[in-house]
């Protein structure tokens, strides 16, 4: 049963590239009088259309600034697209940037519950998964230390452990793995592999083309906010490498 789990329909995302942000009254009034309420349009995404089927693993590749993270945020429904729409038919666990949903002053123990709640899980559910999360992250020695004192690798391990603990329908991984050491990378790859085998859908963003080719079946190549190519991962990565 291979139906669409994510439908992206003609999505465009515009940001205001105004050189100075107007966020106080004085600026606003001055600008109105000077008649240059400056609004420079920047289209981070333009007319993106494709579907992701349930159980697929798809990689996004592209140069820095091509719109990969923006597209992920639109899919994770963190942002509403300026035009078009995204339909998502499952639960999403996003790993966009390190430590999303973490409060730096709290310890790992407290953040597991907080982050779990951010993803929509009750305290009870997180209590059951508590041990396995800490086992994966190998952070038993630092369970009650505030997160602000962690190294970036530790934060990444914790974040990944929490996001993957709950068997989401859709897992979004955005370049956070780059921070981990090779042991961590291996662990993550094997867990992502497990999740894929269990039928979840994975969207993977990485600059490491080997990782993308290893983990994903399909790929999307984004360039300047536009979708240049969509298809089999080996073909797309080949084309991207040769651009």
């Amino acid at each position: 049963m291979n139906e669409n789990i994510i439908e992206i329909n003609n999505v465009s995302m515009m940001f205001n590239r105004s050189k100075e942000q107007v966020d106080n009254l004085k600026e606003y009034i001055i600008r109105i009088f000077k008649k240059n309420l400056f609004f420079e349009e920047f289209w981070a995404l333009q007319n993106i259309t494709f579907n992701i089927k349930k159980g697929e693993s798809i990689g996004f590749v592209g140069l820095n600034g091509s719109g990969k993270s923006t597209l992920l945020k639109v899919i994770a429904q963190v942002m509403k697209p300026t035009k078009g729409e995204v339909k998502v038919y499952g639960s999403v666990a996003p790993l966009i940037e390190l430590g999303a949903g973490f409060d730096l002053d709290l310890s790992a123990r407290e953040n597991i519950f907080l982050n779990g709640a951010v993803l929509g899980h009750s305290r009870n559910e997180m209590r059951k998964k508590f041990d396995s999360i800490l086992d994966f992250a190998e952070l038993w020695d630092f369970v009650d230390v505030p997160i602000k004192n962690y190294s970036s690798g530790m934060v990444a391990r914790l974040g990944f452990a929490i996001a993957t603990a709950s068997s989401p329908d859709i897992l979004i991984v955005d370049e956070v793995l780059g921070v981990g050491d090779f042991k961590f990378q291996k662990k993550c790859e094997s867990r992502i592999g497990e999740i894929i085998k269990n039928g979840a859908t994975v969207i993977f963003v990485s600059h490491s083309l080997e990782q993308v080719m290893e983990l994903c079946q399909k790929a999307v190549w984004l360039k300047n906010g536009q979708m240049v190519m969509y298809g089999d991962v080996d073909e797309v990565c080949q084309q991207y490498k040769n651009c």
Partner: protein
Amino acid sequence: MNKFLIMVSGFVKYKDLLYELVIRDIKIRYRRSVLGLLWTLINPILMMTVITIVFSHLFRFDIKNFPIYFFTGNVVFTFMVEATTNSLFSIIGSASLIKKVYIPKYLFPLSKVLSGLVNLFFAYIAMMLVMLVTGVSFGSAMLVSPLLILYVAMFTTGLGLILATVMVFFRDIAHLYSVVTLAWMYLTPIFYPSSLLEGKASWMLTVNPMYHYISYFRSLVLENHVPGIEANISCFLIGFIFLVAGFYIFYKKQDKFILYV
């Protein structure tokens, strides 16, 4: 109607997050302080002691049971100011969360109101302690307090949502609002009798929602009298209108938050 249902179902799904946010606020507030949670009890009592000394010796007002008169006003007003001010900062303060993960954004101001209610609960207990000490009797009308608190909470939530929204687009509002609350506090008969404003300035009392709420509360605690239909309707309507206006404005603007936060 459909959007409303989506909002409600979102609320149910994220009730755990609301709980976690409130717990987090409380933990961070009292982390590393020696007396910790006791401060929620001690603070209002200390405040009241200072104010009573100042006002019974410096300004002689003929108010029976001044400590409780002051307490009733202070407890309700402090809740409103605290909750709305925290709500004001709640969206920009959670910018990092909002930019990375999908969360129904109204949870942030709402969690601040709930944290405020927790503090209000402790302040209420402090008030009961002071009532014991000053010999004010507990009447059955006090049991209606939760209703009054509900009215105030509705008003506070609505106002908080509006402030949170405006703050994203115009940071000035933070400074403006602190002045507004200061003036508001002086214009509300918290530590002086309302007779001072009656007469020519009585319109100032009528348009002040907090005056209505505080009078209602004083009627329950000091006079052991449950206010009639008129007072209930006005208190409810004020709360309801602000609540609806707050949600409407917030809902309309919330998709733009991420671009400005």
